[in-house]
């Protein structure tokens, strides 16, 4: 993949066009957009604004649902999930920055379903690192990128949004 793959604004633009096209089909009426803390929230704020969605934006923190609590313990900076309106029966647009193993999305859906039973969930991510460990796929992606096992991709923001590749040993 080229360096262009890491241009966050270009990827976001592509996501937005595809999402806009999907919503215009009318199968997801009055969608409720929810960003996954923290990078997903930055992206969701941009998408929410540019698509002019009427329902307020929700924020999901998945710390309490992670599957690696026994290994890494509790995230000390856990933020409460804030969903501004009931999710029961709603069409959810779930936004995250990077999809890799799929574990974050698994945790996010568990947290989401604790608030009620949505009509549908559409997953939108900026970057797919294609290292899935669970049978979970995004409906819309900005781009794909292959990285080596000792690398990680991080989104910084909220202004400006930028993607950077880091070596895990530097974290």
């Amino acid at each position: 993949m080229t360096a262009n793959a890491l241009n966050a604004d270009a990827l976001l633009e592509k996501m937005q066009q595809e999402l806009s096209a999907l919503l215009s089909q009318g199968k997801r009426p009055d969608p409720l957009m929810i960003g996954i803390h923290t990078g997903g929230v930055w992206l969701a704020e941009r998408l929410h604004r540019s698509l002019g969605l009427s329902s307020p934006l929700g924020v999901l923190d998945i710390s309490f649902h992670r599957d690696d609590f026994d290994q890494s313990g509790l995230n000390p900076k856990v933020q409460p999930s804030k969903l501004p309106c009931p999710t029961e029966g709603r069409h959810i647009i779930l936004v995250d920055d990077v999809i890799m193993s799929g574990r974050t999305i698994r945790a996010a859906m568990n947290e989401l379903f604790d608030f009620g039973r949505p009509a549908s969930v559409t997953l939108v991510t900026l970057l797919d690192l294609q290292q899935r460990e669970l049978p979970i796929q995004a409906d819309i992606i900005g781009g794909t990128l292959a990285i080596s096992a000792d690398q990680a991709v991080k989104l910084t923001g909220p202004e400006p949004l930028a993607l950077e590749i880091r070596n895990r040993s530097e974290d």
């Binding site: 599957d67 609590f69 290994q71 509790l74 000390p76 604790d114």
Partner: protein, 334 residues
């Protein structure tokens, strides 16, 4: 009764994270704030249809109560269940110890059942500490009140209630009123208030219910309630602990109420927006008037709600510290 080492050698990991919760004494402001922040996110959980998170799923929490308690036991039980733990409530005063089993044998038995956490309430000061020393490294111990020593989760739920009502701790004047002598709650409150930056902490009690050298904890002592309560932001009442009074420390309950009971008249001397708290159970007409306890400035029921959130926070943080302390596990994930 029990020999003591520095509690923070026991309750913190090498990285300074909580692995037991024995006392608020000596804990840093950052750690106390982290407990309050974590508790805040559990408070917000009450809006969800499913009021449960899977953090302690598959873990076994044993509530070891050597001393009677309804509110503390039930909120610890609910907290553990909302974290998805399996909970066992043991009322030891009616159990094996009455058949002659020693405390240590009881603990070893429970440990052999692969318990992951003990929540301990005991009438002897230092009991939770003693237990933490003898069950480490693989079982987390939470102090739910030991003798006259400490009741740290009560103190932290009080801090959460104050923070919700007042925001910042530093400019506050806080009065703790009543039976300071027998109160583990007061001790834990004083340590937490000081660490969180409250500059003006007052204790108000008759001389017979004040421990010696209480000033050394950095509090101002008043034996006159009217003087002590003047212009405070927070009034924290304590329960008159009749069950711990072996000698005649008070002339009578009605005399105590007249001098130290929180009535509307006395509360009027505090700031107009002062809040009233009480750890419960309330002795109406002994330390607090019903009109105050049920009044609009009373946050007594908020304290109960916050108690669940704080206990969830402390339990998950201690389990997190224990998990990270264990060797031979490698992290996998995004």
């Amino acid at each position: 009764m029990f020999e003591q080492t520095d509690p923070n050698q026991i309750q913190l990991t090498d990285e300074g994270e909580l692995k037991h919760f024995i006392t608020t004494e000596g804990l840093s402001r950052e750690l106390l704030t982290e407990i309050l922040d974590t508790a805040d996110s559990f408070v917000d959980m009450s809006v969800k249809q499913v009021k449960k998170v899977p953090l302690l799923r598959g873990k076994t929490v044993v509530n070891l109560f050597f001393e009677a308690s309804t509110r503390t036991l039930s909120t610890f039980e609910l907290a553990a269940k909302r974290l998805s733990a399996d909970v066992l409530n043991l009322n030891i005063s009616t159990s094996s110890t009455s058949k002659g089993e020693t405390l240590k044998d009881t603990l070893m038995t429970l440990r052999a059942m692969h318990s992951d956490m003990f929540v301990v309430r005991h009438s002897s000061s230092g009991a939770a500490h003693f237990i933490a020393e003898h069950v480490t490294p693989d079982v987390a111990v939470i102090n739910a009140g030991d003798g006259r020593h400490a009741h740290p989760t009560q103190a932290m739920l009080d801090m959460l209630t104050i923070r919700q009502a007042k925001g910042d701790f530093t400019p506050l004047s806080v009065a703790i009123v009543g039976d300071i002598l027998h109160s583990r709650v007061a001790r834990s409150q004083i340590h937490a208030l000081r660490t969180l930056g409250v500059s003006d902490i007052r204790v108000i009690a008759p001389n017979t219910l004040l421990p010696r050298h209480i000033e050394s904890l950095g509090v101002k002592v008043f034996t006159n309630m009217q003087q002590g309560i003047k212009d405070v932001d927070v009034v924290m009442m304590l329960r008159l602990q009749k069950e711990r009074m072996n000698t005649a420390l008070l002339p009578s309950e009605s005399e105590f109420y007249k001098l130290y009971g929180l009535t509307m008249d006395k509360l009027a001397l505090a700031k107009p927006d002062a809040i009233v708290m009480h750890p419960g159970p309330i002795n109406r007409g002994v330390e607090i008037a019903s009109s105050v306890a049920d009044g609009e400035r009373s946050l007594i029921l908020d304290q109960v709600t916050n108690g669940i959130a704080v206990r969830m926070a402390v339990m998950s943080m201690a389990m997190s510290g224990q998990a990270k302390n264990r060797p031979n596990l490698t992290g996998v994930g995004e």
